[in-house]
Symmetry: C2
Subunit: 274 residues, 2 copies
């Protein structure tokens, strides 16, 4: 039986592209129309693993997705990066000046903001998925409407690309996590990265102590983000990613961190894929 992998969005979406690159063709894809649905189907056992966007180079982390992983006690078991190229597409024969509305995912619209400044008459409308809009335009043969999506979506749904590579930041890369109900432990394959979260008082000294420990154990930090905890003033959550060579030393460091911080949560250990 083939492994079932959840993606946010449908065929032709960037999540689908990640699933193809990460797993190859020999898996079954379950299309989910929201991150909530992606997580629900994973928890319910309808999928074995799921692909979830977590950050990009313009907007930073999608923090609500960390909350979904945390609240549902899920584990990060892998990561994958892809460059995101956005294209404006519509029914064959449509010209750009005939387009009145463009539907796409909010992040896609944000990434193409500069481009659309040149077209103040085009209304930008938020939608759940980039490829889904392309499918709808194709199915309903909707005129005067365009999607912003991948070239794969244009080719799957037979749309014309009116403008290609319309995203502002040309070296824009998006990071996706592979999530699962079960933890990944070293088992022949290399495990050299971890994602974690902990809480600390806001004194600079307390974070320095934690980072000193990380340095002493040869952990290299690739990401840090603090978030104030509204309910407890002067307390912060820290979201941290680290890479390491020695899994045993990483485990020891986590024991020490568990004593130095509050609410330490290791989202997962996995293979660094940068």
């Amino acid at each position: 039986m083939k492994k079932v992998i959840g993606i946010q969005g449908i065929q032709g979406s960037f999540h689908h592209l990640v699933a193809q690159q990460y797993y190859g063709e020999d898996v079954e894809i379950l299309e989910c129309m929201s991150f909530q649905e992606l997580v629900r189907s994973l928890v319910a056992g309808e999928t074995q693993e799921a692909v979830m966007a977590i950050e990009n180079s313009i907007a930073g982390s999608i923090l609500p997705n960390y909350a979904l992983i945390d609240e549902n006690d899920l584990h990060v078991v892998g990561e994958h990066y892809i460059p995101i190229a956005m294209n404006m597409m519509a029914l064959k024969g449509q010209q750009i000046d005939q387009i009145k509305k463009v539907y796409s995912h909010p992040m896609a619209l944000l990434q193409c903001k500069e481009f659309f400044k040149k077209y103040p008459n085009i209304k930008l409308i938020e939608d759940t998925d980039t490829a889904e809009v392309a499918r709808r335009i194709s199915e309903k043969q909707s005129k005067h409407v365009a999607a912003v999506a991948s070239t794969a979506a244009a080719s799957i749904f037979g749309l014309d690309i009116l403008a290609s590579d319309i995203h502002t930041k040309k070296s824009n890369s998006t990071r996706f996590l592979i999530i699962s109900k079960t933890k990944k432990e070293p088992n022949g394959e290399k495990i050299d990265k971890a994602s974690l979260k902990f809480e600390l008082e806001s004194r600079t000294g307390s974070l320095v102590s934690v980072l000193n420990i990380m340095r002493d154990f040869d952990l290299n930090m690739t990401k840090i983000q603090s978030m104030p905890i509204i309910e407890t003033p002067w307390k912060y959550s820290f979201f941290i990613d680290i890479t390491f060579d020695d899994y045993e030393r990483f485990c020891k460091a986590m024991e020490v961190l568990g004593m130095m911080t509050e609410q330490l949560r290791i989202f997962g250990t996995y293979k660094n894929n940068v």
Copy 2:
């Protein structure tokens, strides 16, 4: 002549509320329909200062706004926090089950995601400003459409509140920056907070050294966020906020940091308003 203050959005928007609380009533307000427009009018001298949302407790920082401040060589001269309460509003007499579409700012829609799960038939559509939608519904007397905005917007534009406090996170607070073309230096008033950005290689050790200096100079960190610099692998930008008691010591610490980091940019020094 009254000071002219730029806000993103129109009367009744959360930015307007911040302007009222921060400046009182004795200022003129210039409504701007995007953050780009807010910055353009400030740079052009059409406003003396501007109010700009910068982070909230669900989605984190609005990183593109830091880029706007940076690229236009603007300065942070103040900050203001307000709790954000979202309400669904429509023409008088409309019932919630008559509503087919809800327009609002993407962040407002995100904050009310849980609430709208109960109404799968309502289509959520991204718009530029929370209050602007309320104004449009009122002007055009649009039925079957609702806005998600502040109670102030409902009362200014004479709409009925169909559901109040529909945001998920009840202790949700949003931080706004006050930005200007000119730097703020101590001048009788207290200056005890700064926002800065610098670049570093990704070794944990280099960040620890910077934080050690900050601790040695009694700087207290209230925010840290790293962002990979795509063009130069293994290099990161760090966005940091710090509070301090002694402005002179802060200045000395910045001299040291200037030598230890690359591209140090002090966005501004201002009064801590937490």
